[in-house]
Each structure stands twice: as C-alpha cells, then as structure tokens.
Subunit: 83 residues, 2 copies
DNA sequence: GCATTTTATGTCTTATAAGCTATAAAATGT
DNA sequence: ACATTTTATAGCTTATAAGACATAAAATGC
C-alpha cells in the first residue's frame, strides 16, 4: 500500500493491516519477538507512548522495514498540468 | 537517500542527517515542536526508549513522513540474471 | 587561539510504558 | 446458537522517558 504515515495512529493501523495480511494474531507476532499481547494491542491502537524498541521488534516480527521521506506535496492534480 | 531503517540507531542517524541537511540545530527543531534539546540528542543517538509521540513530532519539524515496506531481499546481484 | 554555538551528559521530578496476569468483550468458525 | 479464538482493558510493579535546568564537551567560525 505504501501509505504515508504521519502519526502513531497511522502507524498502528499500518501494522495491524500488515499483521492481518499475514494472518497472525497479536499473541503470535508478540511472542515471536518477546512482546506481550496487550502491548501489541496498544501499539496498533496508536498509543503515542509506545517506545521505538517495541516498534522495531514488531517490524522485525513482520519482516518490515521503515523508510523516511519528504512529506508528500499537497496536491498532485490528476494529470493535466492546467496551471 | 531512501535508506532502509531497521533500528532506533538507524532512525536516529537518518533524522540527524535530515536535520543537518536543513542546517538546523537540535534546539531549533526541538523548539519548533516542543521537544527539548537533550531529548532530540537522545533520539538521534538511537535511544530505543524514545516514544512514538516524540518521533512524530520530530518528523513534523523536519517535514518528513514514514513509510513501511517489506524488508529488502538479501542480495540483488548487480544486473546479470546469472541464475 | 579564543569566543560562540552546538551537542552531550547529568540530576531531580512526574508520568507512563511494558511485563505479568486476569478477564471482559468482540470476532470467528461451524 | 455455541464454543473457541482473538483483542481490549485493567491492576500492580518496575523501569525509564521527557521536561526543566545546569553544565561539560565538542565543534564551528573568525
């Protein structure tokens, strides 16, 4: 999906989506990297207090990596080059 | 640079690099989003305890966004298609 | 070299994350 | 509808983040 993530909520949503794609439970991904299920739940719900260590362990469990890029430009008006 | 980030250290390094690219001090980026300089320092040094809230505020200060993607495949042997 | 800016480190306080465990609530499958 | 699995909440404990502030150490510019 390659969505732009701008907040803990967005990140949580992305992680949940990826986990489901892999058909894993919170317990399963958590266990793989030593995080308990309630913690996985909080991350996915967008808890801003989640620590980076926790985030990267989850990314590892899902075999994902992070990339940072310039913030998307406001409008990329669907083809036309009117102005 | 679009580098793959796999750890708090990598993330910290990327953030520092982007901040320098913009020629801002830790104090400056921090002040822009209400984070004190010592905290910015710790983030850039890869503190795994850094909270997501702090991370996203820094990303905002630098006008960056996050993307998650599948982990890079091991080797992408420079062109050839030998096997 | 020295003055100035920037980054790192340290202390004290307050707030809260995460582990652990339990359990409630919701979703899923048959 | 019911049993089973999954996710959300909650309490308790321990560890530590971040703010505020001070200051040391490093880097930058002249």
């Amino acid at each position: 999906m390659m969505q732009k993530i701008l907040s803990p909520e967005g990140l949580g949503a992305a992680l949940r989506s990826e986990r489901k794609k892999r058909k894993l439970s919170q317990t399963a991904v958590g266990k793989a990297v030593g995080i308990d299920q309630p913690t996985v739940s909080k991350v996915e719900k967008g808890n801003p207090g989640t620590e980076l260590g926790t985030l990267f362990r989850l990314l590892a469990a899902l075999e994902l990596e992070l990339v940072i890029q310039p913030r998307q430009k406001p409008a990329k008006d669907t083809k036309g080059d009117i102005w």
